[in-house]
Every structure is written in C-alpha cells, then in structure tokens.
Symmetry: C2
Subunit: 346 residues, 2 copies
C-alpha cells in the first residue's frame, strides 16, 4: 500500500493493516435523516442534487461536518450510469425509481450505449474533485456503483421488485440476452469506477443490493462471472468493497468474484462470516440499521458485540448492514461513531 | 408413528422414514395460478372464501383434483386467528393486508382476546372436517398458522413492511410490551393449532415468513422462546413443519425452537442446510418458485439437483422455497410433481 493510504485507518483496514481504532462509516450517511439534507431536498429533486456537482459535494460533506467519520462517500445513486446508457427513469414520490421502458428483449439490450464517463457523468467526477479538495486530506473519499445484477434487475423489472420474476425469467429463458445485458453493464461499470478513481476516489464500493434473491447456484451461473469481470477490470489501484444484503449463503462466492473487503448485512454473525470467508480478506459491517432507533445503551451493547465477534483482528471496517434509515435519530448516529472509536481503541 | 401415518409418504418423510419416492406439496398450491380458483375469486372476496367452510374445502381440493400431490393444505390465511383476537383488518386490492389500528402500546396488547377456536374459527375447523371426508384417506391434510414473530410484525406494522422499524422498535425499546404480545399470540397459536389437529389436520406447518429480517442474536433473544413455546405447546401428536424464508443464518436456532421438519427457502443449498441442521431432523424445500416460469428442461434439472443434494436420505419433503406465484404456468406445476416422483423413485 502507498504511503498516502497509511495515513487513513479506513484504507489501512481495507488492506488488513493494524489501526489505532476500528474505522467506521455508514452507508447513506449523507441522507434524509439529516435536517440539512432535507432542507436542500425541499429546493431540489434527488436527481438534481446528484447531477449538480456543487450540491452533490455539499451533501457528501454534511455528515462529515457533524460526525467523526473515517471516510466520506460521494453523494450519488447507483442508477446514475443508466441514463447515459439511454435508459429513461425518474424517482416517483415515495415509490423509488420508475423506468418508463423496462428492458425485455435483445433489441432493448442492443440499444444500450457504452458510456464515456468523462462526458456522460462529468458532474459526478467534478463532485469527486470538489470533495477531495474540501476534505483537505482529512479522510478518504469512497466512490461507488451498483453491481451488474442489481442494475440489470432495475432495468428489467422497471423498479423495485419483490420476486424478481422478470429478471430471473430472462436469466432462465433467454440466456443470450441476459449475457449480452450483463456484459454491457459490466463494461460500463468498469469505465464508470475507473473514472471515479481517476477523479480522486480513494476506494470504491460495489453495491449488489438485491442479489440476495438468488440461490447460490444461480448466483454462480448467472452473476458471479460479471461481478468478477467488473472487479478485475477496475484493477488494484484502490481498495474495493464488495457488498450485498441477504447474502449470507453467497459470501464464499462473492469472495470468488473479488474485492478487498466483503460487506455483510446484520442477518449473519460477523465473526462466523469472517471465519467462512477466511481472514485473508477484510470485512465490513454489520449493525442492523434499526438498532439506531433503540437506546444509547442498546447501541453501545450491539457495537461492543460486533467488535467482540471480530476479535480486534485487523481488517474490520465498522458499518451498518444496509443504508441508514430516514428517521434515524442524529444523536444516536453520533453516539455510535464515538462508541466504536472508544471501544476499539488499542 | 401410527399405522395410519405409515400409509402416507408425506407423513413418513416428516418422521424420517424411508418412502418409495420423495413426497411433494407446494406452498399456496391452492391459489391464483389456478383458473378454477380465479373463477371463485370473481364471486367472493379472499376472506369470504376463507370463512366459508364449503368454499374453503372446495379451494383446498382444487389442486388435488389436478395434480398427484402428496398432501393437501387447508385453504386459509395466517391472519385468520387475529380477527377473533379483536384485530380489525382487510385485504386491500393489490396491497396485501391493511390493519386499521396497528398495535403500538401495552394497552393495545391488553385488549387482545385469547380465542376459543371451536367458537371463533369454527368455519376453519369445519372446512378441515369436510376436506378430510372428501379426501377419503387418499392423502393427508396439513393445517397451519403464522409464527408469533410474523403475526406480531403484521399487528405492529399494520401490514407488510420493508424494514420492520416499528416491530424491532418495540422489541428494543419496550421489551415488556413485546413479551406480553408474543406471550399472548403464542397462547392463541397453541389453541389454534390444537383445534386444527383435533378437527383432523394430520400435520401442521408454522410459517415464520418474515423472521429473516432479524439478526441471529435478535432471533435468539426476542423470538426463539415464543416459537419454542408454541411448538412445545402443540405437542407431538402430529408432525410439525417449521418454515421461514431468508433464514439461512437462523436454521440452527429454528431447530432449537422445535419442529419435526425445517422448511428452507432457495437461498440456501439444501444439502448444506441439512448438514448444518444435522440429519436427526427432516427437511422441506427448496425450489425457487420462479424456476416454474422457466422451461420444463430447467425445472427438471433443478428438481434433479435438489434430489441429488439431499442424497435420497429419508426425511426430505420436496416443496418450493416459498409460495407458488400467481402467474405460474399450471402445466409446469404438473411437470414438476411428476418429475420429482419419477426421479426419486427407489
């Protein structure tokens, strides 16, 4: 690892190097639970905030001004690269993303463009540059993308799904179209992450948020090769965190797909998960986001339990098991961060 | 086991006795994918069908007339015992259940009635008696209930939930109310299942459909004692299947809670799941319901894989990993049942 990385507990932990305390950041740490975020959201739509570099940078830094976080993550959305691929979607109020023309056939896949990030998502790259400058080297900045399966599921289902019937339907019934789609998304994601790294992202996270709907057999057959392609294609320049939810039976396969760090949700005992993965890979997680709605006592007890389960082994990054929830009490977030630092001090 | 049980491969498998072929039934086998079911639903609401013994019996038998299933399951809903407990809900079109007065406080719990099944759900018990008579001993009949956690989550959230913030909120912040609620639900469920058994149910299944949102620690602390109480309270008269989804990290704890059979979803390799559980308990599962939307070839291949993974060991009941989906092709269901019987013939 580089001399620069050595300054940062978060990057050190990604490389499984000892740190003075366990670093912590929180998925969706820039988000609706912060009143300064909600104030901006009254003036701008979610996508407007993603696409305006100054606003995106400002939102990225909001939690950093409040809390002693060990990393910032650029404010954006996993769906951002899809628009320049030629896909038309919006965030409908209270419903999540809605795609007006869900992708169903080979010809839909053929129409998808391979993006040129420097042109197509220049706002994101500019936001990364602004944040890096504003952070003045205090903490590192994480870039991110959705994993091929999760993005494909949005494209095919046209939004969130409960059963993923259409996505799995394409996998099972039209393998060539599925492969063509996953191939194309993978090519885009490699360029997309590389551009973020070139712009200044010091680590990247790949979110395979919905892959937990698959059996291990299907993950291996239909998904693993593409996640692997993306992770390999991005290269070893910066640490990569490979994250999924409801993925306790996929952990070994996710490791095969790659990443320096595997991110796990709260459904698994983090000690057992790391044991199964082997200790030659770092681990991130895994507090249930709902615990933050409990008392400070409960939060402290759970934080201690997680730190106890990983036994102070180098290579643990503390995080939630999924994104922070909208009504999370802000003072509980501050308490968690301080307790993780305090309890893990070596 | 009794001489009567020995006639039935399904009951034999529940007791881990060798059978001539692997028995199969399908969760929600009486449901919307059948056109004769949809025809009735045009005339009656879902709850009307549950509460009319003749209709419920008719619907229960619909899939039995079509397919060579090894068990029938009484047509009903896990929410049925809640109404006589004093809870007011409806099935809103396309939205699932909606509870008009979600349960939030101790006084809400205190108002809940302990039901007397012979009076309060006499329609269900009558439906069971009709079905037993109509089946003429050809295949056994399964009764069922929701598990305490899953029912509590509906009561507290007021319907389906994504994050279970209110349910976990009560667990974490008001343990006495949570315990009082779980205690009360457990008492009701024991009576509810015993009444079904007395009416003629030859096996019962406990559905803990949403418990997979919990960490193993929370399951152990807040749920396991109550599932255990129900299962113990029901007794050993008939085999009990203990089922949950997204539960791959909870399997060992579910076994501790009890049951003759553990039902697993498709997210876990069934061979590994059984290995972890130990072979002194039977297992049910675990085809992904979406596989039934694939080709007959794919369905056959997956059925073979599952049969291969359990190695023909006595004590496997073939099933889907969750309920059959509404648009499932009926001929694929027939094909699956025949293939499971054929491939497993010993």
């Amino acid at each position: 690892m580089s001399e620069i990385e050595k300054q940062y507990p978060f990057l050190m932990a990604c490389r499984r190097q000892p740190t003075e305390y366990t670093p912590i950041w929180l998925m969706r740490q820039a988000g609706r639970y912060l009143k300064e975020y909600r104030a901006l959201r009254e003036k701008y739509s979610f996508l407007e905030m993603c696409k305006n570099p100054e606003l995106a940078a400002q939102v990225t830094l909001q939690p950093i001004h409040r809390f002693k976080l060990d990393a910032a993550i650029i404010f954006s959305d996993i769906l951002i690269p899809l628009e320049p691929m030629g896909v038309d979607f919006e965030f409908a109020k209270g419903e999540g993303p809605v795609f007006h023309h869900p992708l169903r056939e080979r010809k839909d896949v053929e129409k998808l463009r391979i993006i040129n990030p420097e042109e197509d998502v220049s706002f994101l790259l500019k936001a990364i540059r602004i944040v890096r400058k504003e952070l003045e080297g205090k903490i590192p900045l994480i870039g991110f993308c959705g994993a091929p399966f999760t993005l494909a599921s949005y494209l095919i289902e046209g939004g969130h799904s409960r059963d993923y019937i259409l996505t799995k339907g394409m996998m099972y019934r039209d393998r060539p179209t599925w492969d063509a789609l996953m191939e194309k998304i993978s090519d885009v994601l490699i360029r997309y992450l590389q551009a973020q790294i070139n712009a200044g992202a010091q680590a990247v996270q790949v979110f395979d948020s919905w892959v937990g709907c698959l059996s291990p057999r299907d993950y291996k057959a239909y998904v693993l090769p593409y996640s692997k392609k993306v992770i390999k294609g991005v290269g070893k320049q910066v640490p990569l965190i490979h994250f999924a939810t409801s993925s306790s039976t996929l952990l070994e396969l996710m490791k095969q797909a790659g990443g320096d760090v595997i991110g796990v949700d709260w459904r698994v005992d983090i000690g057992e998960a790391w044991e199964r993965l082997g200790h030659n890979i770092a681990i991130q997680g895994n507090l249930d986001p709902v615990i933050l709605f409990g008392s400070a006592d409960l939060i402290g007890k759970e934080a201690k339990t997680i730190l106890h389960l990983v036994k102070g082994r180098p290579g643990h990054i503390f995080n939630l098991g999924h994104g922070i929830l909208p009504n999370t009490p802000v003072d509980h977030v501050a308490a968690l961060i301080n307790m993780v630092h305090e309890y893990s001090s070596r």
